[in-house]
């Protein structure tokens, strides 16, 4: 047998090598090494899925292959961090935030060690791989662990910015990232600060607070609605914890209604975090929490799922308009 003849045929490594969106994670960590930071990276048999193969090729002596043992990876990363090495360890968000949840709680967060946990292919971005590979609970589990920051970047540029910002953050961080195919939201010059939201649009009727892949759709929806005379604002809450309370309350002070959008169960995620702030402060605005409505996702290609669950631009617009008119 020779190699496949058709250029449409593909194999895993070749396909992923052709996805430039996967470069951001490695690029961010490579920059830290170049800046003299004592960082290492590791993965649980998924270096071609998260793009860390790029880091491993650049710094083979700083890459640790953990095999398919996520719990050991997280606990070992904590051991590394306790001895002065900053580890970035990555696996699918479903495995990171659920399978290794207790290791994260005990060894990383409770010990307050500067481990960088990368949960990639979060939400329903693994499409027809199904529920075992979906992570619609990871914000909820990670958010309830004390002393653990949660960052959900909208795109690769924001991820790189957050990795740069992490050098001044000595606590553990959970990065919740996509599959490297998120549409571009930011220029490469974007900056990131823990606890600071990125305000895109100011609106008087509605403010949409989104995170991760939903930011792009929220912007698309808001722009389309504003073009018809509506006044819709958009805030990117990439820093889910610590959350930007001031940005939430400022938005509550100027809009009648608020809406959150996330690739996550509406229970326990970004929407819940925003609701907590609003309730704490007695902000009298109506809030619509949009996301996955406490169900296990259907099986379909990711873009089909985003359309089905109204997490893309047209879907978010539909939900937002119904909310405003309801």
């Amino acid at each position: 047998m020779g190699k496949p003849l058709s250029s449409d045929s593909w194999q895993y490594r070749g396909l992923n090598a052709a996805n430039p969106g996967l470069d951001h994670l490695s690029n961010g960590i490579i920059d830290l090494v170049k800046a003299g930071r004592n960082v290492v990276a590791g993965s649980a048999d998924l270096q071609y899925s998260n793009g860390l193969n790029r880091f491993a090729a650049a710094y083979p002596n700083r890459y640790i292959s953990f095999g398919i043992s996520e719990q050991n990876m997280v606990s070992a990363a904590a051991g590394l961090a306790s001895c002065g090495v900053i580890p970035f360890v990555a696996t699918f968000a479903s495995f990171m935030a659920l399978l290794a949840c207790e290791q994260i709680r005990m060894d990383v967060a409770y010990c307050a060690l500067p481990v960088r946990l990368i949960g990639h292919h979060t939400g329903i971005s693994l499409g027809f791989y199904g529920t075992s590979h979906h992570a619609t609970e990871d914000i909820a589990t990670m958010r309830s662990i004390a002393d653990l920051a949660i960052v959900s970047p909208a795109d690769g540029a924001q991820l790189e910015a957050a990795i740069r910002a992490s050098t001044d953050y000595d606590r553990p961080i959970y990065f919740r990232i996509g599959r490297g195919r998120d549409p571009v939201v930011y220029p490469s010059t974007v900056t990131f600060a823990f606890g600071k939201a990125h305000e895109h649009l100011i609106g008087e009727e509605l403010t949409i607070i989104a995170c991760g892949m939903a930011v792009h759709g929220a912007l698309e929806a808001a722009k389309a609605m504003n073009a018809t005379g509506r006044s819709v604002g958009v805030i990117d809450m990439a820093s889910i914890k610590p959350i930007d309370r001031d940005a939430i309350l400022a938005a509550a002070g100027r809009t009648r209604k608020m809406m959150t959008v996330e690739e996550h169960n509406v229970l326990g995620g970004l929407g819940a975090a925003v609701a907590e702030v609003l309730t704490d402060e007695g902000a009298g605005v109506k809030l619509r929490r949009h996301g996955i409505y406490d169900e296990f996702s259907l099986i379909a290609p990711p873009t089909h799922l985003y359309a089905h669950y109204k997490l893309d631009g047209p879907g978010i617009r539909e939900v937002a308009e119904a909310f405003l008119d309801g």
């Binding site: 004592n38 290492v40 002596n61 700083r62 640790i64 953990f66 095999g67 043992s69 719990q71 050991n72 997280v74 606990s75 070992a76 990363a77 904590a78 051991g79 590394l80 961090a81 306790s82 001895c83 002065g84 090495v85 580890p87 207790e102 290791q103 005990m106 060894d107 409770y110 010990c111 307050a112």
Partner: protein
């Protein structure tokens, strides 16, 4: 050995004293490991008294974190924190609880309490030397019941793969876990063969024979030729030193009324004299 025997006795006596303050604690889990603790902290490990954060120190992680009550007196004795802390063991606001917390207790190299994590933590510490340039050993003590945790074997296979030769595991093979005899609850034998099959160098020793234990631990610590991690299976007696605790595994957790504590203290004090 007289000094080490005295330290092992000190560990047992302090454990009785501290549990009297807490009114509940893990006597027999400490007693099986008292000689191991003494050998490690007073002979084998490279440490600097009074400097718990010395970067070049040997590290110690413990899977059976409930034996911390036997470690705290050592740390106070080594000047890692004031001895007066011990008097408030487990009281509101005390850094000292049933399980060790590295953020609160100088001398604790890694927090513990959830069984099965410690070998992975130790693996990370061992690997870190490649990027810090330090040269130390990492001792990881685990209970024999802990061998039932899957993560232990993830760490074991990983440590061999990464040639973590500075990692030395010690299994406190005292034979009991909460629900009964380890090998009745979930048989872990053949234990030495398991570790060998996972790519480790394996040694077995009587964990109450201080001379043999100390000699073995010194030797494996000093071995610069070994290219693989090392596991020491220490055969011990749960509750060693207090006769009725040796016969009743329920003393894994318990409380001695002061009158009974006096008798236990007398038996521990008489041992070896």
């Amino acid at each position: 050995m007289t000094l080490l025997r005295g330290r092992a006795r000190f560990i047992r006596l302090e454990t009785v004293r501290l549990i009297e303050i807490a009114k509940t604690g893990h006597y027999s889990s400490v007693f099986s490991a008292a000689e191991l603790f003494a050998a490690l902290y007073y002979d084998v490990m490279r440490l600097k008294p009074g400097e718990p954060r010395w970067p070049s120190r040997d590290r110690f992680t413990i899977g059976k974190g409930h034996a911390a009550v036997g470690l705290f007196p050592i740390y106070a004795d080594l000047g890692f924190f004031p001895k007066t802390w011990l008097n408030d063991y487990t009281r509101l606001g005390s850094p000292l609880g049933d399980h060790p917390d590295m953020r609160k207790v100088p001398g604790v190299d890694f927090s513990s309490g959830s069984i099965g994590h410690a070998l992975s933590n130790g693996l990370g510490m061992a690997l870190a030397q490649r990027w810090t340039g330090e040269s130390y050993r990492v001792f990881c003590m685990m209970g024999d019941g802990e061998m039932q945790e899957g993560q232990v074997w993830e760490a074991a296979i990983s440590a061999a793969q990464h040639k973590a030769r500075s990692l030395i595991a010690i299994v406190d093979r005292n034979g009991y876990q909460l629900d009964g005899k380890v090998d009745d609850v979930m048989n872990i034998e053949p234990l030495a063969d398991k570790w060998r099959a996972f790519g480790w160098e394996v040694h077995e020793v009587d964990g109450h024979d201080l001379a043999a234990t100390t000699e073995l631990l010194r030797r494996v610590r000093a071995d610069d030729e070994r290219q693989k991690p090392c596991c020491v299976i220490a055969r011990t007696v749960k509750g060693k030193g207090v006769s009725y605790m040796e016969e009743e595994p329920g003393w894994h957790l318990g409380y001695l009324h002061p009158s009974d504590a006096q008798a236990a203290i007398a038996e521990i004090t008489a041992e070896g004299k």
